[in-house]
Symmetry: C2
Subunit: 407 residues, 2 copies
């Protein structure tokens, strides 16, 4: 019989969010009266703008006409959309040939490991979005789980002590570095100076950075970099992954992109962009053409205005949650809440407590689903991530309940 | 610096279809007067039915309303769609929990290799759809290219001599067998008796079959099996991959599904379905919800009628091409054309000629793009694949030109 991929045997427990969903389901089943509100998974709740939805609707209807029909598109994406992304998000610093359209950031993060195979060294921020680690485990690059994490992965603690920016000197040469900014889960956005340090380190040590900027549209401080390609030297050491999911409400529509610079090389001097092109043409078949029509609409004047309004809405929720967590009842528990106003998450430390215990207590006493920080890595223990994705009325109701929480 | 995945270094030349596209582009550039018709890539050309397109259009428009909006869906797919596929295509032989919705068959074929890692033995029909081999090469399961093919892959010749059904005894125990029916490129559909042999062999030898039935809706002979799960014993040895691309015209919309039976096990007794669930939830994030709305419409009474009409249209094209290739000019060259009426491809042998030479001659003399059989594997040499996907008028014009072809 055929053997199981040892990567799966090495994967620990459930993927974080299904486990959160499971506990929610169980709680709901035994407490049918509870009106549960989710500040857990980063799932958008507000309708897509009329302008963007109409573009997709019109495109779909057009598929029923000879003029509007299209079959397979370029696997790398609609060239007008690649061009528009290069212009709007990278002001010409990136060429359209370096932009590849995907069905979302998570899928590209999974595919990207294909480029490097199963014997690459991996470093992740700790805490981090679980897919970086799980994707590495599945391809066999992470090795065994040794309790505190995987043997083959370097965890870079991002804590209050280092203002959530890791000690780079722990990263070995020739390492694939996953770096997320604005960060999920801490919400912290790296400064230009910090990213310059990271880029210089990667170039000096032969590392490649997978820069996840899926939350870049939440950045409101104009001094903060929205792309790693604002940093000199990034094109020889970084791949950027981004998505329409959060700013356009496309979590279910599925559309993202990655930028793989022409200057980026493997050790043998061959082009990473060329291999990525091969991944996308051989192992992928393009994002839905309807979603791509939506992406184009999202990048015109009206679409950009709509995306900004949608992000503003969620940022206001985040501010409200942060104010609640600064309340006297939380102060009494020693809770410290971090919210930058440049990302969608509020990251709160409950000193001396286990994340899952706090998760369960908040679910039980407030009927609110959160995300336990320990699910994002060892350094996330004692933290809870509060997501600002939710209807304003629900967030206000949740904040009302939280204002009398204690454990 | 980081090393290149050796799988990419092992990949030969370009992926078949980009190479075909390149030759077409070059020819068009040097012959701007040529009105080129494509009977090459299997790309749908006919509009999506109004019924199905309207369902997607309505869904997209609904995303702009609070009632119609949805964010992340289940990564495994909309449960109503999973249920409907189980009923419509498998008449209850398959449970909804065994059906996983994807963004298309090609993407699932690529992802499926993740289940088995890089040391699994692989067997493919020869000729075969190139992604089975290329996907295996990229994960490192295929080994080096030794000229006639990859060292780690068992090629199973499917030729006139064996009526295009392979000699199974060449397959070693514990092998992953890619099997496509109706076949791309030969067009041949396996009978129930043949599939029973395949299933029995796989069960006896501990093999797993990846059954690609993306063209099953082309089957018009009611004695032929549309699914491997019509065969007793298949649930302990097979995974089926299918797609809405061809019957619904969804090549650009992106929607497919895979069936991974609960009974299917790895050598250690663990469940393949469970690991696949993990692949889909961790490395994928669901097909576009708009496409899934289209899939649901395609499976109601009107949608099924529309899909049948669309397939009938292409089958009529295939019949016309087959008649043309039976003409006196082709007979004079010794050409033998195979067309079953149960698949979209006409597979024609040009004895004593190289496939790429025939490809070039047909492009040059008739301004018609075809697909060279050798691109599908060593046993495809001397063959040309003619695709029936095209506007009827174009196919008729192409057949007119072909009727005076010689080389």
């Amino acid at each position: 019989m055929i053997k199981r991929n040892t990567g799966f045997a090495n994967l620990t427990a459930g993927y974080l969010f299904p486990e959160v969903a499971r506990r929610r389901r169980e709680y709901a089943a035994s407490h049918p009266e509870a009106k549960i509100i989710s500040l857990g998974i980063g799932n958008t709740t507000e309708p897509v703008s009329k302008h963007i939805a109409s573009a997709m609707s019109d495109y779909a209807l057009g598929l029923a006409t000879p003029e509007g029909y299209s079959g397979y598109g370029d696997e790398q994406g609609n060239s007008a959309l690649r061009q528009k992304i290069a212009e709007v998000f990278y002001s010409g610093k990136v060429d359209a040939s370096e932009v590849f359209i995907s069905d979302g950031a998570k899928c590209d993060i999974a595919r990207i490991q294909t480029l490097f195979g199963n014997d690459v060294k991996v470093a992740v921020q700790d805490p981090a979005y679980p897919v970086y680690v799980d994707g590495s485990v599945v391809v066999g690059a992470a090795g065994e789980n040794i309790g505190s994490g995987y043997k083959g992965i370097t965890y870079l603690p991002c804590t209050e002590e280092n203002s959530f920016f890791p000690d780079l000197s722990k990263i070995e040469p020739d390492t694939l570095i996953y770096f997320c900014s604005p960060n999920n889960p801490t919400g912290v956005t790296a400064t230009k100076e910090q990213l310059k340090k990271l880029v210089d380190y990667a170039n000096a040590k032969g590392c490649i950075i997978i820069y996840d900027s899926a939350y870049s549209e939440f950045i409101r401080d104009s001094n903060l970099p929205k792309s790693i390609f604002e940093i000199e030297g990034a094109k020889t050491c970084a791949i950027e992954i981004n998505s329409f999911s959060k700013p356009a409400g496309f979590t279910g529509v599925r559309l993202g992109w990655s930028v793989v610079p022409n200057e980026l090389k493997f050790a043998d001097g061959s082009s990473v962009n060329k291999d990525w092109n091969r991944v996308m043409t051989t192992l992928f078949n393009g994002a839905s053409n309807i979603a791509q029509a939506g992406g184009l609409a999202a990048l015109d004047e009206q679409g950009l205005k709509d995306m900004k309004a949608q992000v503003d809405y969620y940022l206001a929720n985040g501010k409200k949650i942060k104010e609640t967590l600064d309340g006297a009842n939380f102060k009494a528990m020693g809770v410290e809440a971090y919210f930058t106003g440049n990302g969608p998450y509020v990251w709160a430390k409950f000193p001396g407590k286990k994340s899952w215990d706090v998760f369960d207590a908040i679910l039980d006493k407030c009927h609110i689903v959160t995300t336990p920080g320990s699910g994002f890595g060892p350094a996330g223990e004692s933290f809870i991530r509060f997501s600002s994705f939710g209807h304003q009325a629900d967030v206000e109701e949740a904040c009302g309940r939280l204002s009398s929480f204690s454990m």
